[in-house]
Amino acid sequence: MQSLVYILPEIFLFIVATVLLVTGLFLKKIKLINLLAIFSLLVAVFLILNQPFQSAFLNSFVVDEFSLVLKVMILIGSIASLIMFVSSKDDLNINIYEFPILIIFSTIGMMVMVSANDLLAMFIGLELQSLSLYVLAALNRNSLLSSEAGIKYFILGALSSGLLLFGISYIYGFSGNTNFNLIAVNINPESLGLIIGIVFVLAGLAFKVSAVPFHMWTPDVYQGAPTPITGFFALAPKIAAMGLLVRFLFNSFGEIYIDWQQIIFFISIASMMLAAFAAIAQTNLKRLMAYSSIGHIGYALIGVACFTDEGLRSLLIYLMIYLIMNIAVFAFLLSLKRNDGYFENISDLSGMHKNHPLRTMLIALIMFSLAGIPPLAGFFGKFYIFVAAIESEMLFLAIIGVVASVISAFYYLRIVKIMYFDEPKEEFDGSSIQSLNLLYYPSSILIIIFFIYPSPVINISEYAIQSII
C-alpha cells in the first residue's frame, strides 16, 4: 500500500480518465470534459510536486528530481494541446469527447516512461503512450490524410516496438536482469550481445523521438493529424522519450558509454543535416514543423552524446526551450483561420503583417528563436548544447550543429520574409480565439525574456540532473 504513494499522480489521472469516459457517454459536453481534464492535469502537477522521492515496485519505478521535472514538462505539453483542442474542435471536425481522455492516457504512459527504471516498465509505458497516439493521429475520420497518418504511424510504430522488444530480449539475455541498476552492476563490457541489444533499443527509441534514420513517419503524421494533436506529438512524447533514453543509457550503460556514444553521435548528425536540407523544399507549415522537430531532436541528442553533466544540463535546457517554442508555434498555426477553415501552407501567410501587425511580429520572433538567432531563447538552447559538446571534446558535432542551424535559418527566415514582403492576402480571423492567447502570449514573452532572466531554467535543469549523474 505504501508504494501507491509513488504512483499517486498516475493513479489520480487514471481515475479521472475513467470517470470522464463514463461522464462523456451520458453528458455530451465536450467543453466541460475538456476543462475537467485540464484541471485534473493541473492537479496532477501539484501531486507530482509534492511526491516523496523514492523507488518502488522492486526498484522498477523511480520518482526523483529528473522524473519530476520531466513529468511537469510533459503535463504542460498535454495541457497546451488540450487548450488548442478547445479552440479548434468545431472547425476541425474532431468533436469527439474521447480526445482529452486519450491525451490523459497517453500522458500516463509518458509519466511511466520517464519514471521507468526497468525494461518492462519502459516498454509498457512506451506502448501505453504510443497506442493512444495512434488513435489520436487517426481521430479525424472524415479526413483521408488523418486516416493515412494513423495507419502509417501504427504500422511503423508497431515495427519499432518489435525492434525495441528484440533489443530488450538481448539485453535481458546477456545481463540476466531487466532492472537498469542491476544491468549496470551485471554488465560485461566485452559482451557483444549487449551492444546488439542497445542498438535495437536505440532504434526503437529513435523512432519515438523521430530521429533520422527512423523519421520517415514524422512529416506525414504531422501533416495528417489534426493540428492540436500534431502539437501534442511535437510537445510531450519527444520529451518523454528523451527522458527514457537518458535514463536507459546513463543508468544502465554508463560504463560502456564509448559504445553507444557513436550511435547517438551518428543519429544526431544525421537528424540535424537531413532536417536542415529536407525542410527547405516544404510548402506545408505542418510538414515544415515536422522537419524542424527532427532537427531539434538532433541538437538535443548532442547533449546525450556528450555523456557529461554539462551535456545533460544543456539537454534539459534545450528541451524546456523547445517545449515553449513549440507551444507558441502550434498556437500560432491554429490562429491561421478564416471562416472557411484553417490554412497550413506557407504561401497563405504572405503579407500577413499588413492585417495583423502584432501577431506577425510575434510569429517572426518565434521563427527567429527557432532559427537560433540571439538574443532569443532558441539561441541559448543551442548555445549551451554546443558549449557542452566542445567541452567534452566533440568539436565535430558542434561544427555540424552550427552548420545545420545556419542552413535551417534559411527556411525559418523565408517565412518571415513572406509575411513581411509578399503580396497581402485576405484577413484571418481576429483575436476571437481567446484560449489560444493563453498559450501564445506567455510563451512568446518567455522566449523574449529568457536572456534577461535565464537562471530559473538553468536552476531547474541543475536540479533535475542531480539524480542521474
Binding site: F57, L102, I124, L128, Y134, Y170, V185, N186, G193, I196
Partner: protein, 204 residues
C-alpha cells in the same frame, strides 16, 4: 533420448514447419490455421517446461480469442483476387538482407559467448521463494504484489485499445429501429392472459 526430449522435438519441429507454412501458403486462411497450429505447439512446449498455467492461458487468449478474430477477418477477405505472385520476387533481396543481418548477429553473439552460456551472471532471484507452490499460485503471488504496476498498466493499455477501436469505428446510424426490452416489458394493458374454455372462444 527420453520421452521428454522426443516431445520437445515433436513440438518444436511442428512449430518450425507450421511457421514456415504460415508465410509460404498462398491461401491466407490456411496461413491463419497454421499459425494456430504453431500456437498450440508453443503451448505444448510450455507444458514440457511445467508452466501449465501459461500454456493454458496461451491457448485461451491467443488461440481461443485472438486467432478466432484473425480467422474471422481473413475468411471474409476476397483473397483470390488480392494475391499477385509476381510481386513476391521483388522483396526477396531485402528479405535475404535482413535474414543475413539477423543470422550474422546470432552467430556473432554465439561466438562471443564461445558457445558457453553459463558465463551470464544472473543476480540472485529478488522474488520470494516458490518452492512447494504450484505454477499458478507462484504467478499469482508475485503478479498482484511485486508486479502489480505492470499488471495494471497492461490493463490500461487494453482499455485504451478498446476506447481507440470504438472511437475510430463507431458510427451512429440514424433511423434504425432498435428493440428496447425494458420498454416492451413495461407496457401495461396491452397483453392479457386469458384462460380459454374449449369450444367457447373469447371475446375480443
Amino acid at each position: 533420448m527420453t520421452a521428454q526430449l522426443l516431445t520437445f522435438y515433436l513440438f518444436s519441429g511442428v512449430i518450425l514447419i507450421s511457421s514456415l507454412m504460415v508465410i509460404s501458403t498462398k491461401n491466407p486462411v490456411h496461413s491463419v490455421l497454421f499459425l494456430i497450429l504453431s500456437f498450440l505447439n508453443a503451448a505444448g512446449l510450455f507444458v514440457i517446461l511445467h508452466a501449465e498455467f501459461l500454456a493454458m492461458i496461451l491457448i485461451i487468449v491467443y488461440v481461443g480469442a485472438v486467432a478466432v478474430l484473425f480467422l474471422f477477418v481473413v475468411m471474409m477477405l476476397d483473397f483470390k483476387t488480392s494475391i499477385n505472385k509476381d510481386n513476391i520476387l521483388q522483396y526477396i533481396p531485402i528479405g535475404i538482407l535482413i535474414g543475413v543481418v539477423f543470422i550474422a548477429e546470432l552467430i556473432i553473439v554465439l561466438i562471443n559467448t564461445k558457445f558457453d552460456l553459463s558465463n551470464i551472471q544472473v543476480l540472485p532471484n529478488p522474488l520470494s521463494d516458490f518452492t512447494g507452490k504450484s505454477n499458478t499460485e507462484a504467478i499469482g503471488s508475485v503478479l498482484y504484489t511485486d508486479y502489480i504496476l505492470y499488471f495494471q498498466l497492461s490493463g490500461v493499455i487494453l482499455l485504451v485499445a478498446m476506447i481507440g477501436s470504438i472511437v475510430l469505428t463507431l458510427r451512429e446510424r440514424v433511423g434504425v429501429k432498435r428493440q428496447v426490452v425494458s420498454e416492451q416489458l413495461q407496457r401495461q394493458g396491452k397483453i392479457d392472459l386469458v384462460d380459454v374454455k374449449s369450444g367457447k372462444g373469447v371475446d375480443i
